[in-house]
Symmetry: C2
Subunit: 234 residues, 2 copies
């Protein structure tokens, strides 16, 4: 199955000025699509930090999604940093320049044209007949930080990331985690394709433990659920 | 000023089964305390991944906060991974073992006693007269993933992370980002101690740009705010 990482770029998230809505949205959509998310990271608007993180994630995951830092102001440093990550230069793409000039007219100054500068080798994805394409450098899709824009642009390309969704089963028990720990360890060993999670909910009265069992192998999942279910009620 | 990183450990966040509440809480509290957050990362319950991330963050930041993976079940792997990060072994701490045995009585089995196993060299912090201490390995404070517990344990030790809070000023303008980009670049160059952010709010009618100016140098901040304020209204 395809794996993915999300790189949230922005001082405004780390400083608490804005609450990050984008990772929550992407986490949910990638789950629905069946793309396995392995990492979410929030980093500041610092070119070397962005370049290092993007290079590492690009090498380690099938897909990388960046958000933020793609506007016309001094704190928008994602494009040059991604170029740096891949050791290429930025250039002003004529198609993007044309779009900006037509849209903005006389207001299209040098700052605005920074938005037409992309890493050498990047692709333009026009899925969904958007007015402005998504910029994708190798396996790194570069999204804006504005949540409404990100959602719009993500949905246009979501079909490219579709795989087989994971099935999740949930079991609840009033037994404590120490009581069921050996049972879960045994189940995890016996069905390695099933991911088992155990989450105590002390705030419930009486306290309960939520056990989640997840996987794409239906037979293994069903056998594992049956085993754990019998074990916790036994 | 002290810097910090947050490491959220848990498949349940990456898979969207639970929404991460802990990073939002810690981001807000660190900001209030005046501790500069440089990184938030969400990683799976995989020992090598946890160990690598904790080692990197510990070397790069003054303080590291981990959340999650500290219970008694098979998916609780934070303690051994942090031991691995620092090249030490785990051992069962007699004080912690005593607390667990007294609290749990006959229910205190081997699984429960995993919660008494900590990295060699870790400290126990008893601030706030909590029933169970916070485990801290070098500059890495190890918090539970359950949000209510994390908040309780963080507040008990928050005083240790207090510094000088950053002051934030906000300016709004109906001018567009391309129009004000040069002004902001000039201000950022002239007052390097002031962090300037620019955030378009296209959803407002008419659209506006929020400019944030932040710093600990009051004089520089005031001069910079005055400069930008005059520039956007000029």
């Amino acid at each position: 199955m395809a794996t993915a990482a999300i790189v949230i770029i922005g001082n405004e998230i780390l400083s608490g000025k804005f609450v990050d809505e984008n990772s929550g949205f992407l986490i949910r959509r990638l789950r629905e699509l069946g793309c396995d998310l392995g990492r979410v990271v929030v980093i500041p608007d610092v070119p070397n930090v962005i370049a290092a993180e993007v290079a590492a994630c690009s090498a380690q995951f099938d897909h990388v999604f960046t958000t933020g830092g793609v506007g016309p102001t001094h704190d928008d440093l994602t494009m040059p940093a991604i170029a740096q990550a891949f050791g290429v230069s930025l250039y002003r793409h004529p198609t993007l320049e044309g779009i900006l000039r037509r849209r903005m007219g006389a207001a299209c100054n040098d700052a605005a044209l920074r938005m037409a500068e992309i890493p050498d080798g990047a692709e333009l994805w026009w899925d969904g007949e958007v007015r402005y394409p998504l910029i994708v450098m190798k396996n790194v899709a570069i999204f804006p930080g504005v949540p409404a824009l990100l959602r719009l642009k993500f949905e246009a390309v979501a079909h490219r990331y579709a795989g087989t969704p994971v099935r999740t089963e949930r079991l609840w028990t009033e037994r404590t985690e120490p009581e069921i720990a050996d049972l879960l360890t045994e189940a995890a060993g016996q069905w390695p394709t099933v991911a088992i999670g155990s989450y105590p909910r002390f705030e419930l009265d009486p306290p309960k433990v939520l056990i989640t069992l997840e996987g794409r192998d239906e037979d293994a999942l069903e056998a594992c659920v049956e085993f754990v279910s019998a074990g916790i009620s036994g």
